[in-house]
Symmetry: C2
Subunit: 360 residues, 2 copies
C-alpha cells in the first residue's frame, strides 16, 4: 500500500519531512501547503510537490508558483497529514483534519494536549501502533534527543535519575530575527525546564530534571547529560550500548570533532541533504562513569533529528509496520547512520532518493 | 601596619587587583610591573601607580610611561607580591619571589603545584592564615564561584554530590583573538573537567563532577548547578542560606534580569568600577529542590570575582586578620554586595576609594 501523505507547512521541518517521505518506498507526498509564496514555495514547486495555498492563491500565482488547491484539497487527497506549521498553529488546525476524518501528526512545538498521544520511535512506537490514537505529536528535537539515549540506557542499566543541561542554539541559521548576541541566558530561568516533563510524554516512568540555557549559536543544541544508573557500568560498555543505536552517532576520537561546526561540515562533506544530522551525535571521548553516575555530551541538530521520527510516526498510525521494520525502512531510505556516500545504499546516501528537482 | 603589595602583571586581573588593594585602608600598592607599554601601562601611570618595566624600559620611556624600576625593584619594595601574569608565567616567576624571600600569590590559571596551597576566602581562609604557606594560589574564577556556594551548602545541609555544567564565555571582551563564533564546544570534551578537582584544592572532601562547554559570548560564565544534599531542604531555605553570603548576589525576580547582559548593565548603572561583578549572581527564580536534588543557575564574572579573594589572601598570608575581619574589610572598601551607590559607605561604592587618576 502506498501511503499518501500531505505536509501542511513547508518551513524548516516541513521541507525536510516532505523530502524524507518522498524517499520512502511505501509513501508518496500528496502535496504541501504553504501560507506565503516565498523562495521555499518556489523550491517546493521545482522539487515537484503539488503546492497548496493556505490563504492567498493569487499571491502564489503572481509569484509564478502554480497552485494545486487549498488546505482542504490537500487534506482530502491525503491518508495522513503531517502538520509542520509554527508552534500553536497545529492546535488550530486539528479541527480541519478531524472534519476530514484524516489522521494527523503534529510537531513538538505544540503542547502535548494537541494530540491523543506523543511519539518517539525508540521510546513508544509499538504503543502508538497498537493503540487507537489518530492525532499524534512527534516530540521536539531536544526531547527526541533525550529519548533516544535514555530508552536504551534504561533497558540495559536502569535509569535512577537523569539530570541534563540543554545548551540551546538561539535560533536556526535562517532565523535572522533571533538572539541572543553575546549572552548566555538561563532559558527558562525556572528549574526544571519543560523538557523533562516532555520526555515523560513518551517515557512516563523516567525521573529526569532538565535545565535550559540559550546561547548565541545557530547550528545545533548541545546537551550535557548526567544519568545516575541503577546498576554498575563502565564507559566502554555504555559506549557500545549507544553505538548499537541506529540513530545515535558515537563520534570517534580520531575524527577530531570539536563541536557542531565540525559536525555540520562532516555532514555536508558526506553529501547529506542540507547538511542534516538526523542522529544524536554523542562524543565518544566524553562518555565517563563516576560510581553510578554516567556523563556524556551530545549534539542535537534541531532542524532534522525529528525528520525520521515523523516518517516512522506515519507508519505507526497507519498500522503499516512494527517499530523495527519501520526504523530500518526509514533509515535505509534516508541514509541514517551512514556518513560515507560509498557505503551501502548509494541511492539513499547520495540524496538521489529525494524528490527530484523539476529543473533536473 | 600598612602592607606594601606589588602587582606583577597589569592585564585584566592585575589592574583590578591593584585598584582593589589601593582601596584598602591597610594596604598600599608598592607598584605594578608590566611587559608592554600599551594603553594599560599608560592608564597605570595616570592612576598613580609606580610602573616597573619587566623587560624593555626604553620602550616604556618611548611611550611616555616613566619607569620606576624593574621587577626585582618591585619585589624588593613589596611585603607581598601578587602575580597576575598570564597562565604559566607565574610558575616561572616563583624563583624570583623566593630569591627575595617575599611571599607571593598566584592566579588560578597556574597549575595547583605552583604554590604551597590554594585559597578561597570562604572555603579555607583560616587554614591558610594559620598555616605556613608563603606561596599561595587564588583559585580560578569558576572554582571561586563554585566554592562560594558549596561551602555554605555543605555547612548547612551537607553536600552528597555536586554536578555542574560550566557554560564558559569564549573570551573576555578585550580578547579579540578568541572564539568560538557560532559554535557550542564541549571544552574539554573529556568528563569530568578540571574544575571539580580544582574545587578539591580548597574543599578536599567534596564530591564534585564538572562538565565544561564554551560558547560565543564574552560577558560572564553561566553555571548550571545540581547539588544532591545530604538532608532535606526547601527552595526558600536554600535561598536564605545563599542570600546570607556576602559574596553571593541572589538576583530577585522583580529585577527581571535575563542574563549576563542585564547583570553587567546593572553593575554599570550602579557605578561599579569597570562594571565589575565581584559576587556570584544566583537567579532566585532558578533555585529549585526536587527530592534532595537542589538546582540553580549562577553567573560568574570571570574578570573580577577573584579580585576580593586576592585582597583577602594578602591578609591571610600576612597573618593580619581572621577570615571574618578580612572579608568585611575587603567588602566594605570595594562595595561588595552593594549595588545602590546611596546605600552605605559611598566612598567605596562610588569608586572614590580607588586609586586616584593622575589626571584628576
Amino acid at each position: 500500500m502506498m501511503l499518501r501523505v500531505g505536509v501542511n507547512g513547508y518551513g524548516t521541518i516541513g521541507k525536510r519531512v516532505a523530502d524524507a517521505l518522498a524517499a520512502q518506498p511505501d509513501m508518496t507526498v500528496s502535496g504541501v501547503a504553504k501560507t506565503t509564496p516565498n523562495f521555499e514555495a518556489t523550491a517546493a514547486h521545482r522539487r515537484g510537490y503539488a503546492v497548496h495555498a493556505i490563504d492567498d492563491a493569487a499571491a502564489f500565482a503572481a509569484a509564478d508558483v502554480p497552485v494545486a488547491g487549498d488546505l482542504d484539497d490537500l487534506v482530502a487527497a491525503s491518508d495522513v497529514v503531517i502538520d509542520c506549521t509554527p508552534a500553536g498553529i497545529g492546535a488550530q488546525n486539528r479541527e480541519i483534519y478531524e472534519a476530514h476524518d484524516t489522521p494527523a501528526l503534529y510537531q513538538g512545538g505544540e503542547d502535548a494536549d494537541v494530540a491523543d498521544a506523543s511519539f518517539n520511535a525508540r521510546a513508544n512506537y509499538d504503543e502508538i501502533a497498537n493503540g487507537d490514537a489518530e492525532h499524534v505529536r512527534v516530540v521536539s528535537c531536544n526531547t527526541t534527543g533525550l529519548s533516544r539515549v535514555l530508552t536504551p540506557l534504561d533497558e540495559v542499566y536502569g535509569v535512577e535519575k537523569t539530570r541534563a543541561t540543554l545548551v540551546r542554539r538561539g535560533g536556526d541559521p535562517s532565523q535572522s530575527d533571533r538572539g541572543p548576541i553575546n549572552d548566555i541566558l538561563p532559558d527558562p530561568v525556572t528549574v526544571p525546564s519543560h523538557h523533562g516533563p516532555d520526555v515523560n510524554t513518551v517515557l512516563p516512568d523516567l525521573a529526569v530534571d532538565t535545565m535550559g540555557v540559550t546561547v548565541p549559536a545557530t547550528l545545533m543544541h548541545l546537551h550535557s547529560v548526567n544519568v545516575t544508573l541503577e546498576s554498575d557500568a563502565d564507559a566502554d560498555a555504555v559506549r557500545e550500548t549507544l553505538a548499537d543505536e541506529s540513530r545515535v552517532f558515537v563520534v570517534p576520537e580520531h575524527a577530531r570533532v570539536a563541536g557542531p561546526g565540525h559536525l555540520k561540515e562532516l555532514a555536508k562533506d558526506a553529501g547529506r541533504p542540507r547538511g542534516d544530522l538526523w542522529e544524536n551525535c554523542v562524543w565518544g571521548a566524553s562518555i565517563a562513569v563516576e560510581g553510578r553516575d554516567l556523563y556524556f555530551f551530545q549534539a542535537i541538530h534541531q532542524e532534522s533529528d525529528v525528520v525520521p521520527e515523523n516518517v516512522d510516526a506515519v507508519r505507526a498510525i497507519a498500522g503499516d509496520a512494527d517499530a523495527a521494520e519501520s526504523v530500518v525502512r526509514t533509515n535505509r531510505a534516508l541514509g541514517v547512520g551512514r556518513f560515507d556516500p560509498t557505503d551501502g545504499d548509494a541511492t539513499a546516501a547520495d540524496g538521489r532518493g529525494m524528490a527530484a528537482s523539476a529543473d533536473d
